[in-house]
Symmetry: C2
Subunit: 334 residues, 2 copies
């Protein structure tokens, strides 16, 4: 609520100028109006999602500004991918502490600009405010699907196979490496392996290229953001089914495999730690082959890790075939 | 990034349960999916806006939780009103410090629920995260207009009259009273007058009832959130016109009039302080009468305060007919 002395161009306007090149959508009105307007294509639904990331919670305060921006957008794009939706655009609210200078904001805008191009998801508008707290970035993202075809979390059916994209657990190990550099040695990781895991924490790689195939072939899907075990349980509850997955089938990166070999207790953070931003899907037998084919064409590996049955809840079986118990199956902020 | 010990129902899920009754829109999927989906009516545009409010910046940390929630939604609804859009729904991201308990969140949800009913704007989804900073509430709101009819900030034309809704400056005085109780006496205010001004700061009263009439009769409009003088200047720049308004025509509440009489220097915060959430509109002569009529039917008073001409920039004339100079014409966070 503090006021500044007179300036012809306020800091707020200089910040808006940095973001204007990202707002090429005609409905963004060059960021000079109060609101944006979009004309949805006939026969489509708009798919909506908002997710926030907070300094000291979802990223480290000294993470590169461009990566912070890209993470904020990507955690939202990951949801659109899992829902089979094509990105349209997003609104950004950026809360900045007073210590953050224009260079940080310029780097933030540049990182965001890179992903605007990469994912074809344009800035539609937003709000920049000051905060006595940490940098807080909230994104509301919009995508489109043909009417009624959003892939639902609650669509899994008994008999479906459970698939997961990419590799699981990298980010959960990466954040531990960020906090404690000594772990690199204890886990026997090469520099490249350490970089891989930290990179997976710092910058999610959402699989938007596979969205259309999911819409065509998956009964149900969600993104894995709060940990595979807990997110699978959420899918089961939403679908009214049970799932059984096998630990040894869960796809791990070479780096995660090395760390797990050095410390078997890492299995729990790998399966429950979250920040994976991979896709979890339930797919019936007949559609496995065409989905895999389409995913491979999009450069995305899908691995079958288990199956859906009647009943309720997710079971994770260890190598000995026994059900694993976790302290907490998924990340909760509270 | 801290983990809790095992619980069958996480705090995050208990918070979601509090908000579930607000999410009656079928596309909110009962808050159990990753995303919401809405099917825009054929022939309509979706009008989009995101605005955040931060504890210690936009509200006081000890303001009632229900009022904080309602303010967060209302500052966004105010933009929809000025754009002539009908509210559909919103996404909420709520960043909560650890000191905030479930009772605060329950009161927040109850206040939000009241406004969901009042404005017919349903919760579509959201995200709740922890923060080491203050409570931060970001809302992305969605409204609809017939395609291509959003009232633009840049639509003002030479010859238009400048109208403003309600009264100006109340919130700017209200926040000063919140900070310094001694001002009540210095400004010679009654308890009711003080309550009025503080109430206007704490809880905006957006005029969504007048949205349709604005769409029908206004050439241009925006909401007054950063101060009348500066916001009028923004409208002029967006429209490529100039405006001249007369201080003595600016509508003031009885309370603001009393304060101004006691301290004439308050004219500046009244005209530049912001948080008014009134509507500023440019309207051609022939449409003044039908707009006023429609606004009156909706219970909204519109006051003519000046006119639009060629040229650029806003001029505010004092009682002596001379142009007033302000230290800063509108609020800027930076």
């Amino acid at each position: 609520m503090a006021k500044q002395t007179s300036t012809t161009v306020s800091g707020e306007e200089r910040i808006i100028d940095l973001f204007r090149p990202l707002a090429r959508h005609p409905g963004a009105f060059g960021l000079i109006d109060d609101c944006a307007a979009i004309t949805p294509a006939p026969g489509t639904d708009l798919v909506l999602k908002a997710d926030a990331i907070v300094g000291g919670v979802h990223f480290f305060p000294d993470d590169p500004a461009g990566d912070v921006a890209r993470k904020a957008l990507r955690v939202n794009l990951s949801d659109l991918a899992a829902k089979g939706a094509k990105p349209i655009g997003f609104l950004l609210t950026l809360a900045l502490p007073s210590g953050v200078g224009m260079e940080w904001v310029a780097n933030f805008a540049q990182g965001l600009s890179d992903d605007v191009e990469r994912y074809g998801c344009l800035l539609l508008g937003g709000d920049t405010v000051s905060t006595p707290g940490p940098v807080t970035v909230s994104v509301a993202v919009f995508g489109s699907v043909p009417t009624g075809t959003m892939v639902r979390r609650g669509g899994a059916k008994a008999g479906d196979r459970v698939l997961v994209s990419g590799t699981i657990g990298d980010a959960a190990l990466g954040v531990r490496l960020c906090r404690d550099v000594a772990l690199t040695k204890r886990w026997g990781l090469s520099t490249a392996q350490t970089q891989h895991l930290i990179g997976r924490y710092r910058l999610p790689q959402p699989h938007n290229a596979v969205a259309e195939a999911l819409r065509e072939f998956a009964n149900g899907a969600m993104d894995v953001s709060d940990g595979l075990a807990g997110d699978l349980d959420k899918m089961c509850r939403a679908s009214g089914v049970s799932a059984t997955i096998h630990t040894e089938r869960v796809p791990l990166s070479d780096a995660a495999r090395s760390a797990l070999a050095a410390d078997p207790s890492l299995l729990e953070p790998i399966l429950t730690g979250g920040d994976d931003y991979e896709i979890l899907a339930a797919v019936e037998d007949a559609k496995l082959a065409p989905l895999r084919h389409a995913a491979a064409a999009a450069g995305v590996t899908l691995t079958e890790i288990g199956s859906i049955a009647g009943g309720d809840g997710a079971r994770v079986l260890g190598g000995d075939g026994k059900v694993l118990a976790f302290r907490q199956a998924s990340y909760s902020h509270f």
